[in-house]
């Protein structure tokens, strides 16, 4: 058995990282707080093929599985990409729904990118139906991460049934949890990297504060949490791709550990930045608030630890 990403999977990840580092810096995320997000990173990712990784080859996609998409979603999380990449590329694509921007309420009633989506996958009577933008009503919701442009969505039109199979809906929820877990791992890593840079520059008592043991221990704790979450996310991707019996349990383990890693990294980042970390002028807040928002989507930590416990103690 091989533990690790393949050469192609790493090449996908590196290509996405290169694109996002050039086109989705903090300034782009900040712009999304003030208005519509810059569409360029999203259209570049679409041209690269990110949105069609899970789409069958017969439909013009790459026909690959979740293990190819997850490393890319980690990069989207690292960049705090404002658009709904997990909803579109992971959940909708696996249900055979392709579109420029597709969002769903399967992960929770507050839906991101509600004002720019052209497709809405909504839970209906135990199944899922697809609605066009003119077949829904949006109730904007102010959330901690304003770059997501969230709203509650209510169907006003008939829609098109995508599936009424409960097992397919459950699998879509597992994929949503997995994709969001991957984004959270990327976010956690980014917050830690920003903080490591900061404590290497910020001086106190004539030295960088990163040289003090108390600060180092905080950062090490965050690193340990990230290193525990990453393999769990990779495992869940493999389990879902292979249709393993443990896929749901593994998705929950991944989401729980990614939630905890992001929580630890966010707490440590804020603590080590001191007062500047609380300000909206500091880039850290862009990543902090995204992590707070994503931790609650597709099931919070309590939900997922209960699911794992249910399997272990049944």
């Amino acid at each position: 058995m091989r533990f690790g990403w393949s050469e192609d999977q790493l090449a996908f990840r590196d290509a996405a990282r290169d694109l996002l580092s050039k086109e989705c810096g903090p300034d782009v995320v900040r712009t999304a707080w003030e208005g519509a997000p810059d569409p360029k990173p999203w259209s570049s990712l679409e041209a690269m093929g990110v949105l069609s990784v899970l789409v069958p080859e017969a439909d013009g996609g790459l026909g690959l599985d979740e293990t190819f998409l997850v490393p890319v979603l980690e990069e989207a999380g690292r960049a705090a990409l404002p658009q709904p990449i997990t909803d579109t590329a992971m959940v909708a694509a696996s249900l055979g729904v392709t579109g420029s921007v597709v969002v769903t309420d399967l992960g929770g009633p507050i839906v991101g990118s509600a004002d720019t989506a052209d497709g809405f996958l909504l839970a209906v009577d135990g199944g899922v139906a697809l609605f066009d933008a003119d077949q829904v009503e949006r109730e904007p919701v102010t959330t901690v991460d304003r770059s997501r442009h969230a709203a509650r969505i209510r169907a006003t039109g008939p829609g098109r049934t995508v599936t009424d199979d409960a097992s397919e809906v459950a699998a879509a929820r597992d994929r949503g949890a997995l994709g969001t877990a991957a984004e959270l791992v990327g976010l956690a890593d980014q917050m830690l990297a920003i903080t490591v840079d900061y404590v290497g520059e910020r001086q106190q008592f004539g030295k960088p504060i990163g040289s003090f043991q108390a600060v180092k221990h905080h950062l090490a704790n965050a690193r340990v949490a990230i290193e525990f979450a990453g393999p769990a996310v990779a495992r869940a991707a493999w389990s879902i791709a292979e249709g393993a019996d443990t896929a749901s349990r593994d998705a929950s383990m991944a989401k729980y550990l990614a939630n905890e890693a992001a929580a630890e990294s966010a707490k440590v980042a804020l603590q080590c930045h001191g007062a500047i970390g609380y300000t909206v002028e500091c880039d850290l807040h862009l990543y902090l608030k995204r992590s707070w928002a994503l931790r609650r989507l597709w099931g919070d930590s309590d939900h997922h630890v209960d699911r794992v416990a249910g399997v272990l103690f049944e």
Partner: protein, 257 residues
């Protein structure tokens, strides 16, 4: 239209490694990537070739390294020739040009494109040396290239603007970073690149004498290496009513105004 692009594979600038105190050269035992300055040349070549022409790559790298070549192949180049040979260790710019010229000559291209300079060596001399060795006309610092029959029409970047020049094909053009916006490799391109041909050749395959390349053939000797001096503190200008004039004078001296 048969276009050859010279590409260099370099240590990742984000993790550039270090100089080897024994050989006094850059350690290249790390994963090498496509020099970003070469991605502009690859993109320019792909646009000029269109659907009818072909774009191939020529590179010289140690340890049979193809990581950077795969990136350029994923962008759309069709094939590559890699010159990799232990005898090339220590090669200077002129030797590099001799090796690349021999490799390029095998395909008799209509146009050779190179970056103005690499992002790790910065000699900026190799493209013109290749042109001289191959007896090709060359144009440097191209910011725009158009092909018209048997002629390359080039806008050549200058300090104050650009010169419009024409050059008969075949020729060599070195391009600046502003020539075009390089495309990102697509996922399909990344997978397809694995199946594209990369011909690895040695110095002997190119008909060159191993004794004339590498350390043996280098016309230079690296006597010592030292760390670059730490960046000096900038000048603080106290505004006594004339700060704007001093800033303008400073920028003027840098020729950025």
């Amino acid at each position: 239209m048969n276009i050859v692009v010279c590409v260099k594979q370099i240590p990742d600038p984000a993790d550039p490694g270090a100089l080897d105190p024994e050989t006094k050269t850059l350690k290249r035992d790390v994963k090498l990537i496509l020099d970003e300055s070469d991605s502009y040349g690859v993109e320019m070549a792909l646009q000029l070739a269109g659907d009818e022409g072909t774009v191939s790559l020529v590179s010289m790298a140690p340890n049979s390294e193809v990581g950077g070549l795969r990136t350029a192949l994923a962008m759309g180049a069709e094939s590559a020739v890699l010159v990799s040979d232990d005898a090339l260790k220590g090669s200077d710019a002129l030797t590099t040009a001799k090796v690349l010229a021999a490799a390029i000559a095998k395909s008799s291209p209509d146009l050779v494109i190179a970056a103005t300079e690499s992002s790790d060596g910065y000699t900026g001399t190799v493209p013109e040396q290749i042109a001289a060795l191959m007896d090709l006309p060359s144009v440097t610092f191209a910011k725009e290239i158009a092909l018209d029959g048997g002629t390359a029409k080039v806008k050549r970047q200058t300090e104050s603007g650009y010169d419009s020049v024409e050059c008969p094909l075949p020729c060599l053009v070195s391009v600046t970073a502003g020539v075009v916006e390089p495309r990102y490799p697509s996922f399909k391109g990344i997978m397809a690149a694995k199946a594209k041909p990369v011909e690895e050749v040695t110095v002997a395959d190119l008909g060159l004498d191993a004794g004339s390349v590498g350390w043996a053939g280098a016309g230079q000797e690296i006597v010592s290496i030292e760390d670059a001096p730490a960046r000096e503190a900038g000048e603080v200008i106290e505004d006594e009513g004339d700060a704007h004039e001093r800033i303008v004078a400073f920028l003027d001296e840098l020729k950025v105004l």
